[in-house]
Every structure is written in C-alpha cells, then in structure tokens.
C-alpha cells in the first residue's frame, strides 16, 4: 500500500532523513518510532505530498507522491502533529469544507461528515467553534478531518501527544477501530503506544531506519537471555555468591541502592531456563527475606535505547536531524 525507496531529504547541509526504505501492506498499522527530531515528520510530509524528497521515491496506493500527487493525495487522510484547524469555523462547517475540498460529491457529503463525526465522537460538539474545543476534542476533530473522504491510507503524526491519559486511551481505541480496511502509519515517541496499537514497528533514529519488526520480535531479538529481578534482605556478598552457585545463572548484578536493608538484583540466566524456583529455594534456605521475584523482560523502551545507542555509536555524532 505504501512503498518507500531510498528516501533522502536534506535541508541545505542538514540531512533530515537518509536512505529510508520500507513498505507497508494493506490494512497494516505501522508505528513510526523515534526520538524527537529523528525524521518521522519529514517522512510523513513526503508521503502526504507536502514536501518533495531530495532523492528517492515514495508510492501510496500505487501512485507516486510526486509525479501523481493528486491521485496519491486523494487516497490519504493526514493529521499533522500540530492539528492545524480553522478555529473560526464550527465543527460541522469545518468538516463540510474539508469534505468538499477533498472532492466528496455533494450528495454524499452530509452522510460522510455525519459518519466521520460519529466515528470520532465529536457529534455533540458539531455546532461549537473549533477554537473553543478542548485539546482532546481538537484531536478528534483532526481525525474526523482525515477520515472524512474515507481514505485508504491514514497518516497520523503523533496522534496522542498532549492528551491526558483518558484521552490517550480513547484515541488509541479509535485508531485501532479504524484499522482493517485502512492502512495506518502513526508516529510516536512513546513506546507503549506502539506495542498497544501497531502490528509492526519502524524504529528511526537520526534520519535512518534502525529496525523494522513486530513489537514481539524486536523484544526477542535484543533479549538474548532471560532475566529475573530479585529483591532480598540479606548480606549482599553472600546473596550474590549464593545466586552464582545456582545452575543456569550467567550473571548477577545489584541494581540500585539498598532500601531498608533490601536490595534488588538482576539475575541473567541461560535462555529458556527458568531459575526462579531455585532462586526462591536458595533464599529461603539461607533465611534471607525474599520480597520480590519477577521476570524482567526488556521493555520496548530498553530495546529502543539499545538500538538507538548502538546506532549512535556506529555513526559519527553531529548528523543531527530536524523533525
């Protein structure tokens, strides 16, 4: 549905994205993950035809975003990060304008606007001025605006930024609900968002793609051993020695400082081997207080840092990028 090849965008001496290639299949939700300034917005602006790439090509629904811009744009619903809406319009009037501007035939317009408002739960503010809406409503009107021409592809730049937790949950549910028929690319710098909404993650850092995979695979790929977190009250030296003696344990290291005499340890063991039972038994046998014992999966956060710092070390610093 979306095909991007060797996309590079430079602003004078600054390279925002470099040699970015990826494809997105029909009906997929893909998360574009990266720190601020990694090149997410630039890539999205190229896809939406707002900005031309310096080199490389991008196709949306089989249409080149540069050569067949109108055709490509007809199939895209876009929501920029800043959610730029016309504040002086009422919600319904605004959406009506967008539908007309996007070429929705006049006989369908009313129904389409109603449907988009219904979907994004903004029907109750249809008569309000856009400028008086709360951030959450603005965001949803922005989504309704993207949806009003029933596009095949949705491109959402940081759709949950600046929302409160309740609103974030609502927007995420909304986005998930839109999937299926539509292909969705959304960008974010919040990791849990990706694991919650996306089928696939594209991690971008300093304008380059550093990983493309499912959230699950990424976790598995980076995590080479099984880890357990253990909180124990006992003499640290002896505790560590005891743990090392256990079969299957590769490494043990204290984590953080002791609190009330308790200390947390990170125990790394061979992959596929669960050392938790043995650990618990050893602690109890020695009469140390066992306060906590839980598996420590690398969170996406850690994977992300892992990938991004590897990447940063591999490239010379200073190739900063603009969002």
């Amino acid at each position: 549905m979306i095909e991007v090849q060797n996309l590079t965008e430079s602003y004078g001496p600054v390279t925002a994205i470099e040699d970015v290639s990826f494809t997105v299949g029909r009906g997929e939700i893909v998360g574009f993950l990266g720190p601020n300034g990694a090149g997410k917005t630039t890539t999205m602006r190229i896809l939406t035809g707002y900005m031309p790439p310096t080199t490389g090509t991008a196709q949306v629904a089989g249409f080149d975003v540069l050569a067949q811009s109108l055709e490509a744009r007809r199939r895209i619903g876009y929501l920029p990060e800043s959610v730029p809406l016309y504040g002086e319009f009422r919600v319904r009037t605004y959406l009506d304008f967008v539908a007309e501007a996007k070429g929705v035939p006049s006989r369908d317009r009313r129904a389409r606007v109603d449907e988009a408002m219904e979907r994004c739960a903004v029907t109750d503010v249809a008569g309000k001025l856009v400028s008086t809406l709360s951030r959450g409503y603005r965001q949803r009107v922005g989504l309704a605006q993207a949806l009003v021409n029933d596009p095949e592809v949705l491109i959402l730049d940081e759709p949950t930024v600046g929302l409160d937790p309740q609103q974030i949950v609502e927007i995420r549910r909304l986005i998930k609900g839109l999937a299926g028929r539509r292909t969705i690319i959304l960008s974010t710098h919040i990791l849990p968002e990706v694991s919650m909404t996306c089928d696939r993650v594209i991690i971008i850092s300093r304008g380059r793609i550093v990983a493309v995979d499912t959230p699950g695979n990424l976790t598995a790929q980076v995590q080479k051993s099984a880890n357990v977190l253990l909180q124990v009250e006992g003499p640290p030296d002896r505790v560590m020695a005891e743990i090392r003696r256990l079969e299957g344990v590769q490494r043990v290291a204290p984590r953080g400082d002791a609190v009330d005499g308790r200390r947390t340890y990170l125990v790394e063991s061979e992959r596929g081997r669960d050392v938790r039972v043995a650990l618990a038994a050893a602690m109890v046998k020695n009469g140390w207080g066992l306060y906590e014992l839980r598996p420590a999966d690398l969170s996406l956060e850690e994977i992300f840092l892992h990938l991004v710092t590897d990447e940063a070390a591999a490239h010379q610093p200073g190739r900063a990028a603009e969002a």
């Binding site: 965008e9 504040g87 967008v98």
Partner: protein, 256 residues
C-alpha cells in the same frame, strides 16, 4: 471547479467571521460616503454659480464633477484596502499551520489560488458595489450619464483586481500578515507613484512609466473611454501576478 468553489466559500466565510470584511467595508463606506458628500457639495455650488455664468453650465455634469473626482479619490483608498484584503490569504494559512493540511488535500494549486483570489475579488467588488448607491441617489435629482459612470466602475474593478493580484503574490511569500500588508501596500503605492515620475523622464521613459502606472490606465475609463488596450493591460497585469503566485505555490512542492 468544485474545488475552486469549496475554497471560495471557505475564504468568504473566513472574511466574514473575522473583522476583516466588516472593517474594510465600513471604512470604505464611511470614507467614500464622506467624500461623495463633499464633491456633491462642490457640484451643487458650481450649479448655483452657473446660473450667473453660462460658461460653467456647459461642462456641468455629474460625470466630470462628481464621479471622476470620486473615482480618483477611491483609487487612493483602494491602495490601502486591497492589501488588507489579500494579506491573510496565504500568510495566515502558513502561520496557523493549516497550509500543511490544505496543501495535502487533493486540490490543484491553481484551484487553490483561484478560489482565494475570487473570494478576495468578491469582497472588493462588494465594497465597490456599495458606492453604486451614489449614482442611483444622484440620479433622482440630475440626469446621470450612465455610460461614463459605468466604464468608470469597470476601470475601478479592473484596477482593484490588479492590486489584489499583487497582494496575493506577496501573501504567498511570507507567513506574516503584517509584512504581507506592508509590502503589498508599498508595491501598490509604487505602481501608483510611477506615473508621477513619468513627467520628469525622457520621451521613451515617459511612455514606459505611464504605461506601467495603474492609475493612468484607470483614468481613461473614468473619462468614459473604453479602450481595449487598457482592458488588456489590466488583465495582463492580473494574470501575470497570479501566474507568479502559482509559481510561488508550486515552488513549495519542490523547494520543500
């Protein structure tokens, strides 16, 4: 076509939900009305004098005594007001960030441009239309020569469109309304003053400068002379600046 209409309606609505339209229309109606009252007063006094001096009576008609001075005066007001109408057209979209959405809708740049330009023109013509009350009013008391009056209106309309085209171009180049207004006003003023410089120039320079002066061309309409070359001049001028605006919009797509 449908896209042009969509943009046109949106712009008209934007003019009337903001103070722009009301401000421009009010100022114009006030100033034009006041000036009309003055010239009619002058015309009236000349009418009294003509009873004693038949020579004055010969050239005493509303076209020469009321409408030509009125149009000359309105041309000056228009210099201020046309930039006020066009300043927001593109600058505001860019400042608010709405350009990012507007430019990603499936609308051709030319449709976008024409929608906006027609909206500005409609507001300007509505403004000029307010003054149609004057000949109608005056017509109750003296016979009006409708020919020269209407060509005068045509000249005004064409000149306003030319100023609007310049302002539209400048608005597409900046994201600050104030800059757009100031530069457009400066450009309009220059195009007006250029005719004055003609008097000091040599024969060739004089012809060129006079030809470039928008007010010079409008003046012949007010005299009741409908010349193709003047019409063509205004249309060319307008098209040229709209064309440049189109280029400026398109350049966003390759300049990034």
């Amino acid at each position: 076509m449908a896209h042009i209409l969509a943009i046109f309606k949106k712009e008209i609505r934007a003019y009337f939900v903001s103070p722009v339209a009301y401000g421009v229309l009010t100022i114009f109606a006030l100033v034009a009305g006041y000036y009309f009252w003055i010239v009619v007063g002058v015309y009236q006094r000349a009418g009294f004098q003509s009873m004693m001096n038949p020579q004055i009576a010969q050239g005493l008609n509303p076209s020469d005594w009321v409408f030509r001075p009125l149009f000359s005066f309105l041309s000056v007001i228009v210099l201020f007001l046309m930039p006020a109408i066009t300043a927001r057209l593109f600058a505001e979209e860019k400042r608010q960030g709405t350009a990012e959405l507007l430019f990603t809708y499936p609308i051709r740049d030319v449709e976008l441009l024409l929608g906006k330009f027609f909206a500005a023109t409609a507001l300007a013509l509505a403004m000029l239309g307010l003054t149609l009350a004057y000949p109608l009013l005056l017509g109750l008391f003296v016979p009006i020569e409708w020919g020269p009056t209407l060509t005068g209106y045509l000249g005004m309309a064409l000149m306003m469109m030319a100023f609007l085209a310049v302002g539209t171009l400048i608005s597409s180049l900046t994201e600050h309304q104030l800059i757009a207004f100031t530069v457009s006003f400066g450009a309009a003023l220059l195009l007006w003053l250029i005719g004055w410089a003609a008097d000091g120039a040599g024969p060739t320079g004089r012809a060129v400068l006079k030809h470039l002066s928008l007010l010079e061309h409008r003046e012949s309409f007010a005299k009741g002379v409908l010349e193709t070359k003047d019409i063509i001049f205004f249309l060319n001028f307008t098209f040229f600046f709209l064309f440049l605006t189109l280029r400026s919009l398109e350049s966003k797509r390759w300049r990034g």
